[in-house]
Every structure is written in structure tokens, then in C-alpha cells.
């Protein structure tokens, strides 16, 4: 057996293990439901979701088209907010790194704002924009832009000075230092910062969506509560986790892996 297929095999086995583990959790959940609701009547059926109930909700929401509309709307909204955050956050981060005055005074302020849970921006946002798309996007931006700014500041700041020194003694201008050295040198850390920024954006998006009435995953979650349908609530929570992981894995993780591998860091 060659080394490569061996490696693929262990990968496959790991995946299988993860899958079995998840199945185990679902089985346990079903057992808990059976014992707690059917056998002991400890919980009322409307207070406890079950795997079967969640499955039924899934089928229903897919058939009515609600689910994919909700996912699509949420993703679009999240992407718009995230992209604005990236534009705003990287520029702010760059400025904070470049000007010592901003680094000393602006950075603590930005870090302070960053500690505010994004849901706290919702009342402010609704007063400004009403129960609208803009209100949610504003919450997303407030939730992620500052973390991206700090990550950008750090990423540039952590570029090994030897790279700058080497370029300077080869005749690089200040502009060339930024364009040909710092931009590339800070990339791995910057991507990690953007990945974290995305996870903040996704959380902020859900805070915004459950508080307003625009169609999306957050609103589907609230509809579930209004209908006292705990299975739908559970289903939407699972979907929110899955979509978040999916973007993280298919986009950021693969980008990160490519850059790290090219530089021999992985």
C-alpha cells in the first residue's frame, strides 16, 4: 500500500468515526425523548424536540420553499455586511498600524467597542433604521468590523522586521514596502482574522434577524417560537450551525490551507 492511499484511508476512518459519533448523539437524543416524554411523561411533547419531529419540520420547510429562501436571504445579508466590514475594518486596521497616534488612542477604543455583544447594537440600530434590512446589516457591521480592524492591525504589526529591512536595503520605497512586502507577509494572519470576523458577522446577523421581521433564518426561528413549534426552532438552530461551519470550511479553511502550504507553514 502506498503512503498516499494509507493517508487517505486514515482520513476516511476519521470521517467515519465522526459520522458514527454524530449518529450516536442523535440516537441518544431519541432515547432521551422516548424515556422522558413517552415513558415517564416527564416533559410535555411540545416542550421537547425529537429527531423525528425535526426531520418532519425539515421536510415541511423544504417543501414550502421557506428554508432555502431563508438561507439565501440570510447568506446574502451576511455577505453584504461582512464585505462592508472587511472594507471598513482593513482600512481602519491599516490606519491604526500606520499612525502611532491612532495605535495608541484609537486601538483601546476599538477593542472596547469590540467587547460589546452585537445584540446590544440591535435597539440602537432599530431606532436608526427601523425594522429593516439596513438595521440588520448595521448590526452585522458593528459586530465584525472592529474585530477585523484589530486583526489587520496585529497582522501588519507582526510582520518580521527583517523582511522590511531586507527590502529597504534592496532599495524599496515606502510604497513598495507596503505593496510588495507587508501585504504578502501579513496575509496568513490576515486571513485568520477575516475568518474570525466572519464568525462574528454570522452571530451578529442572527441577533439582528431575530429582532426584526425580514425573511431569513433568524425570522424562521422566531416564527417557530410564535407557533410553539419546538421542532422547527431546533431545526433552524441546527441549520444556523451548519451554514456557519460550511462557509468557514469551504471558503476560509481552504484559503488558509492553500496559503500555509505554499509557505511551508502547515
Amino acid at each position: 500500500m502506498t503512503r498516499k492511499t494509507k493517508k487517505e484511508n486514515t482520513k476516511f476512518i476519521k470521517l467515519l468515526q465522526q459520522l458514527l459519533f454524530l449518529l450516536g448523539i442523535v440516537a441518544l437524543w431519541q432515547l432521551l425523548y422516548f424515556v422522558g416524554v413517552d415513558l415517564l411523561e416527564f416533559w410535555k411533547p411540545y416542550a421537547m424536540p425529537s429527531p423525528a419531529g425535526v426531520w418532519k419540520s425539515l421536510v415541511r420547510l423544504i417543501e414550502s420553499g421557506t428554508l432555502f429562501t431563508a438561507i439565501g436571504n440570510s447568506l446574502l445579508r451576511g455577505m453584504i455586511g461582512f464585505l462592508i466590514s472587511v472594507a471598513f475594518g482593513t482600512v481602519l486596521g491599516f490606519l491604526m498600524e500606520h499612525f502611532p497616534f491612532l495605535h495608541q488612542n484609537m486601538r483601546p477604543f476599538v477593542m472596547g467597542v469590540q467587547t460589546l455583544p452585537s445584540v446590544c447594537w440591535v435597539p440602537f440600530s432599530i431606532l436608526w433604521f427601523g425594522l429593516s434590512e439596513q438595521a440588520i446589516i448595521f448590526v452585522v457591521i458593528m459586530g465584525s468590523a472592529f474585530s477585523i480592524a484589530i486583526a489587520t492591525d496585529n497582522a501588519i504589526h507582526n510582520v518580521p522586521p527583517i523582511y522590511k529591512k531586507a527590502a529597504l536595503t534592496m532599495g524599496a520605497s515606502q510604497k513598495q514596502i507596503y505593496r510588495k512586502v507587508i501585504l504578502h507577509a501579513c496575509l496568513p494572519e490576515l486571513i485568520s482574522g477575516l475568518k474570525q470576523g466572519w464568525s462574528f458577522a454570522w452571530r451578529a446577523l442572527m441577533s439582528g434577524e431575530v429582532m426584526t421581521t425580514c425573511i431569513g433564518l433568524g425570522q424562521t426561528l422566531i416564527t417557530g417560537r410564535n407557533l410553539a413549534d419546538i421542532n422547527q426552532v431546533m431545526l433552524v438552530m441546527i441549520i444556523i450551525v451548519l451554514v456557519g461551519i460550511l462557509i468557514d470550511q469551504i471558503f476560509f479553511r481552504s484559503l488558509e490551507r492553500r496559503i500555509y502550504r505554499k509557505r511551508g507553514l502547515a
Binding site: 527583517i162 529591512k165 536595503t169 532599495g171 505554499k262 509557505r263
Partner: protein
């Protein structure tokens, strides 16, 4: 080319680095100058001053009669760490300096290949930096420095992070290259043997009132051999000079 240091002094307020005191020195065109001295005697500071990475507290440094204002491609530096860029492959790294200067692409390619061949690295042109050994990385860094045709090449202990065997091989290669190209080289080392092997003149730095303790011209034919009697004698003399307590 002439490099002139006139009564150069550099002191540091927060004393994190080593000071340099009253250095008068002329480096002539095509000369190979080595600097030795105990750690903390200001060897690297002297190099940084010439590179323009530090400014002298007093005195002046003139390159072809003009004072040095900051770092520039006419005084390219090769560092102890290879300082190659991990996001570029071997040949892209070698071209980097030429790209900054806006050298036409065709010329970049030809010159990069010329120096990679000189370093016996032509086959590795598309390798990533992390795939190379320590010695190969320093050879790529040397190729990159040579492409710039700088007036003087500043080398800050370039071989000292390598194992003895590799560093011996690299200094022999450097000697060959110097004999072929007669570049002006200012070379910092903590190895007296390396200095005697490479230099036309060895400058001994110390912590005394004046930084330059002695300047020893090495009148040995090249290529040099470390076990020659005259070589050993130079080595003994300079070593005792370095170890002298002031």
C-alpha cells in the same frame, strides 16, 4: 567606488545595542574587508550605519563623496537569517531587488538565471523557500544580493547560523565568486578563521576608547588554505588581538 567613514560615533540611549566610537576607515574599490571582535563590540552597528539603517550620532559616512542618507540598493545587505520571502519561490526572490528597480523582465530573467547558475541553484529555480536547506537559502540570498550590482555588498555574519561544514563550503564559494567578480565586500564575522580566509584586511573591533583596535592586512595568495603556516600565524595573531583585555 570609495567608502569613507570619518570619525563615526554611534551611541544608543536605551543601550539595547552596541555603541561604535570614533571610527575612521576607508574601504577601497574591489576590496574584501572583514570585521571581527567580541560580541557586543559594535560590529553589526557599524554595518547598519553603512547600510543606512542607523544614523551616526556624530561623524559622517561618505559613499563616493556623498553622505549616506538612508538604506539603498547601492549598499545591499545580506543578513544572518536568509531574509528570503516565503510567498515567493527561488527565482522570484532572486528577481525581487531588480523588480523594485524596474529592470526590464527579460533582463531580470537572464540575470537571475546567471547568478542562480553561479550558485549551482538553477535546477531549484521554481522551488519554494521552505523546501531548501539552510545553506541553499543563504546561496539564494547571495544570488539575490549579487543581481543588484551594488557598489558595496554588506554581509552580516551570513554563514554563522549554518553548520560548520556548510559554512566552510559557502565561504569557499564566496572566495571563488569574489575572485571572479572583484566586488567590494564588507563582511562581519565572529570567526577569525573565516576573516583570515576571506579578507584583504581584517578590522579588529573592541570595547576600548576607539572602536577600531587594529587593522591587519592579509598578504596571502588566493585560494587560501587554513592549514598553511602563514594562515595559522595570522589566525593566532588576530585571535590574541581579539581576546586582549583592555
Amino acid at each position: 567606488m570609495s567608502l569613507l567613514l570619518k570619525n563615526v560615533t554611534k551611541t544608543f540611549q536605551d543601550s539595547g545595542q552596541d555603541a561604535v566610537r570614533n571610527v575612521d576607515l576607508e574601504i577601497r574599490d574591489g576590496e574584501f574587508v572583514c570585521v571581527v571582535g567580541k560580541s557586543g563590540c559594535g560590529k553589526s552597528t557599524l554595518l547598519n550605519l553603512i547600510a543606512g539603517l542607523e544614523k551616526p550620532t556624530s561623524g559622517e559616512i561618505l559613499l563616493d563623496g556623498a553622505p549616506i542618507k538612508g538604506p539603498g540598493a547601492d549598499r545591499v545587505v545580506m543578513f544572518q537569517e536568509h531574509a528570503l520571502f516565503p510567498w515567493l519561490n527561488v527565482i522570484q526572490n532572486v528577481k525581487f531587488g531588480m523588480e523594485l528597480a524596474g529592470v526590464p523582465r527579460q533582463e531580470q530573467e537572464e540575470k537571475a538565471m546567471k547568478y542562480l547558475e553561479l550558485m549551482q541553484l538553477a535546477d531549484y529555480r521554481n522551488y519554494a523557500i521552505h523546501q531548501l536547506s539552510g545553506g541553499m537559502r543563504q546561496r539564494v540570498a547571495l544570488a539575490r544580493a549579487l543581481t543588484l550590482d551594488s557598489k558595496i555588498l554588506l554581509m552580516d555574519e551570513p554563514f554563522s547560523a549554518l553548520d560548520k561544514q556548510t559554512s566552510n563550503r559557502l565561504r569557499a564559494e564566496l572566495q571563488d565568486i569574489w575572485m571572479q567578480t572583484r566586488r567590494t565586500i564588507f563582511f562581519i564575522t565572529h570567526s577569525v578563521e573565516e576573516a583570515v580566509y576571506l579578507a584583504d584586511r581584517v578590522i579588529v573591533l573592541s570595547n576600548g576608547k576607539d572602536s577600531v583596535q587594529d587593522i591587519v592586512p592579509i598578504a596571502l595568495e588566493r585560494p587560501r588554505h587554513v592549514y598553511d603556516e602563514a594562515f595559522v600565524e595570522y589566525r593566532r595573531r588576530i585571535l590574541s588581538e581579539v581576546q586582549k583585555e583592555l
